[in-house]
């Protein structure tokens, strides 16, 4: 299995996709730090945090200016808030980067029929599934660490200590978010094994986050349930809440949820793949 993982890493780093993904990720972090607007910059912008971090007077001044340089000056003058920490609240952006990882590592292999070269040799389907999952988790972890720590250091350099929460806090939050992020990766790997073809995989995974939110809100409206309560266990909200709402109960619940996602989606994906015909 180690050889399979090594081979996949060799292939991933020989291709361009991972480097393009890294450039986009670093650009997002840099822009977010420079504009001092955590959660506003990204493919999936998170909940508006301006109410939390800006007061009314500052908000008024900010709305009167169009210059980023002026915005930076005003924000620095008026106060301090942990940009790096709030940036972690917008980590749902990583979902789209995980799609790239799963597409490159797994879906490309199944879609191009290159998987048959591997599976017709001495590799069992169990080993194949496990190796793909581990490779995605490894690359995903690398991406999470790069996103969080590069964000931390860039913010420190660009905005100074007043806007930084410290490396220990970032490390703690990174660890707290890991279970749910691993749950997301296992969901994407499961979908990759279920849909196999790149076009199918992309058309399902790209709008999935929005579809889940819409479904939750639809259910809440239909059955007169508390939408906010339901949404607090939705992936995007969990990642944001883990930064702002760290009660022990919530931490335990979200960690368990991540674990359930991981085990559940792995079991579903493997069951489907075990019986699948390799074309």
């Amino acid at each position: 299995m180690l050889n399979l993982i090594k081979a996949d890493l060799y292939r991933v780093f020989k291709g361009k996709s991972i480097y393009i993904a890294l450039i986009i990720l670093l650009s997002l972090i840099s822009i977010s730090c420079f504009t001092m607007s955590p959660g506003h910059i990204g493919i999936a912008a998170t909940k508006d945090t301006s109410d939390v971090i800006y007061d009314e007077e500052l908000n008024q001044k900010l709305s009167d200016t169009n210059s980023i340089i002026e915005t930076r000056r005003l924000v620095k003058e008026y106060g301090s808030y942990p940009i790096d920490k709030l940036q972690l609240g917008a980590n749902i952006n990583l979902y789209y980067f995980f799609i790239i990882i799963v597409a490159v590592v797994l879906v490309n292999d199944l879609s191009n029929s290159t998987a048959k070269n591997t599976l017709s040799s001495a590799i069992s389907r169990k080993k194949y599934y496990a190796s793909k999952l581990i490779t995605c988790l490894l690359l995903g972890t690398g991406l999470i660490l790069m996103n969080n720590y590069v964000g931390y250091f860039l913010n420190l350099i660009m905005n100074g200590t007043n806007f930084s929460s410290g490396i220990l806090e970032i490390t703690k939050l990174t660890i707290l978010q890991l279970p749910i992020l691993y749950g997301i990766i296992s969901l994407l790997v499961c979908l990759g094994f279920c849909f196999k073809k790149s076009a199918n995989f992309n058309s399902i995974t790209i709008p999935l986050i929005i579809l889940v939110q819409l479904t939750i809100m639809g259910i809440a409206t239909l059955f007169h349930l508390d939408a906010n309560h339901l949404l607090s266990y939705e992936l995007q909200y969990i990642l944001t809440n883990l930064v702002t709402n760290q009660t022990t109960t919530y931490l335990v619940k979200t960690t368990l949820l991540g674990l359930i996602y991981f085990i559940g989606f792995t079991a579903i994906g493997y069951t489907v793949f075990k019986k699948a015909e390799i074309k």
């Binding site: 050889n3 399979l4 090594k6 081979a7 060799y10 292939r11 020989k14 291709g15 361009k16 490309n108 191009n112 029929s113 290159t114 048959k116 070269n117 591997t118 599976l119 017709s120 040799s121 001495a122 590799i123 069992s124 019986k275 015909e277 390799i278 074309k279």
Partner: protein
């Protein structure tokens, strides 16, 4: 006695209402070049995909190197495959593609990649991206992958597809060399019998998922060679006459009324005269000899009739 490399026992594969393989029983011995012949959709690829576990069998079983399907993983280590079209990563070069699979297989020696590329004559193209290769080159890269790990058994599905005549000859020579020098057993499928005839020493004709004939090259030669077809009322009596009067045992009794005689090809009149003289009722006597394609066609028609 040669060891069995692959043995299928009533191997069956069904897709809903369609039976792709119907109780297939074949045996491939070590050192064989086993040709699998059938029309498009006859079940050749399904058979190969089933024994390489790319698809699940519905019924029956198979043994690889005398191991049953429950303990296949180790046996599969000794196989090299090219099934359906050669599939590789389009944006990787020839050598990068092979290196990817070499890492997977735990091959650390770069020489093995070079050797495989030399064998299929792709050394000059090793830095070309897969997407820029011609169909023939892609096919040869598929064969290079199949032989990369020095396997004992190679499964090749229509390996000459898309190759030019020189390419076909080169691949044929390479495969023969692998068989003769390295003792590698080969299972090759094709719908071009004449091409397969030049390389294989055992043949299996498959149609509608069923094996309709399994025979050696010698037997195939005998089936297709020139002969005198004698149709008589009593084949037993006729064969006694052939042996006693014409001093030949070079004949084959096909059925209750038909004998094929492989001697006296220029003198069927003498054979006829001799039989008639001994009071044998000769229904018909004529010279015959069929091409491989005609033989294949006859088998398919017989198969259709029996269905």
């Amino acid at each position: 006695m040669n060891k069995t490399v692959l043995k299928t026992i009533n191997l069956t594969k069904k897709y809903k209402n369609f039976t792709a393989l119907d109780h297939v029983n074949i045996t491939i011995k070590k050192g064989d070049i086993y040709g699998l012949i059938g029309r498009n959709g006859a079940g050749k690829t399904t058979l190969m995909k089933t024994v390489t576990t790319l698809t699940e069998k519905t019924e029956g079983s198979f043994q690889l190197f005398e191991n049953t399907s429950q303990e296949l993983t180790e046996s599969k280590r000794r196989i090299g495959c090219l099934i359906e079209n050669p599939a590789f990563f389009a944006n990787l070069t020839v050598v990068q593609n092979l290196k990817y699979y070499a890492i997977q297989k735990g091959i650390v020696d770069q020489k093995q990649i070079d050797q495989a590329l030399t064998l299929v004559d792709l050394t000059k193209q090793k830095k070309k991206k897969f997407k820029n290769l011609s169909l023939g080159m892609k096919q040869r890269l598929g064969i290079a992958l199949a032989i990369l790990d020095n396997p004992d058994f190679i499964i090749l599905d229509e390996p000459i597809n898309g190759l030019d005549p020189i390419g076909i000859k080169e691949i044929r020579d390479t495969l023969k060399k692998l068989n003769e020098e390295n003792g590698i057993t080969l299972l090759i499928s094709s719908h071009i019998l004449s091409e397969l005839y030049l390389i294989a020493n055992h043949f299996c004709f498959i149609e509608k998922g069923k094996v309709i004939k399994e025979l050696s090259k010698e037997e195939l030669d005998l089936e297709c060679s020139k002969c005198i077809v004698i149709k008589v009322e009593n084949t037993k009596k006729a064969t006694v006459i052939l042996e006693k009067e014409l001093h030949t045992t070079n004949y084959k009794v096909i059925n209750k009324q038909e004998i094929r005689l492989y001697d006296y090809l220029d003198n069927s009149a003498k054979v006829n005269k001799c039989l008639v003289k001994e009071n044998i009722d000769v229904i018909s006597i004529y010279e015959s000899g069929i091409s491989l394609e005609e033989y294949f066609d006859t088998l398919i028609k017989e198969g259709d009739a029996s269905c």
